[in-house]
């Protein structure tokens, strides 16, 4: 089963993601900010990572950079959550190493579509 790590400081968003991902048959693990995300990743690993951008402690860009520094996660798809179509944020996220993005608010099916696009 594909394990998805979701990193978001919003409980609402974490719950939404969990609901949508569980519906798609994914195993979901969660973290509340970038730093916590790195900890959880260290402990549990993940096949796909979904992260918010605006977070306390370590934001999404920093988190992605740190994940990509780890050789084990060079090929792990990382999706960022963004609101609206924000070209600047997307560019920046990709520079940091993001694979793609999910536009909030998302429809659960759309989310699964996006994951399918990046995960085998």
């Amino acid at each position: 089963m594909i394990k998805v790590l979701t990193v978001d400081d919003s409980r609402t968003m974490r719950d939404m993601l969990r609901l949508a991902l569980a519906g798609g048959g994914f195993t979901v693990i969660q973290a509340v900010d970038g730093e916590h995300g790195l900890e959880v990743l260290n402990e549990s690993g993940a096949d796909v990572i979904i992260t918010d951008i605006n977070m306390p402690k370590l934001d999404g860009f920093g988190f992605i950079e740190r994940v990509r520094e780890d050789a084990a996660y060079r090929a792990t798809p990382i999706l960022v959550l963004t609101t609206e179509s924000d070209p600047a944020k997307k560019v920046r996220a990709r520079e940091a190493g993001a694979t793609g993005w999910i536009v909030k608010p998302f429809h659960p099916e759309k989310l699964l579509d996006v994951i399918r696009k990046v995960a085998a």
């Binding site: 050789a71 084990a72 060079r74 090929a75 085998a120």
Partner: protein, 96 residues
Amino acid sequence: MASTLCLDPVLDLKAAQPLKAALTEHRGASVQLDASNVERLGGLCLQVLVAARRAWSEEGHDLTIEPRSAAFSAAAALFAAEDHLGLKVDKDGAVP
């Protein structure tokens, strides 16, 4: 008797370097690649395999990929790389 190299299950970005290194060790003799465990084949590893097959063939050696997992066969077909990997000849003998 060709030596056998067992391919890793995930042949993605991370696997490309090690794959080339492993193949290099078998240079100069025929080699059989066991792809029965392969779950995922990415574009970069595909390049390594195709380049290897050409190199082996130029040197008069065989490089065969057998047995193959369904995932490997499907990926090769999706990439339209069956010819390049020499799969078509013994397609019928492939492990489903």
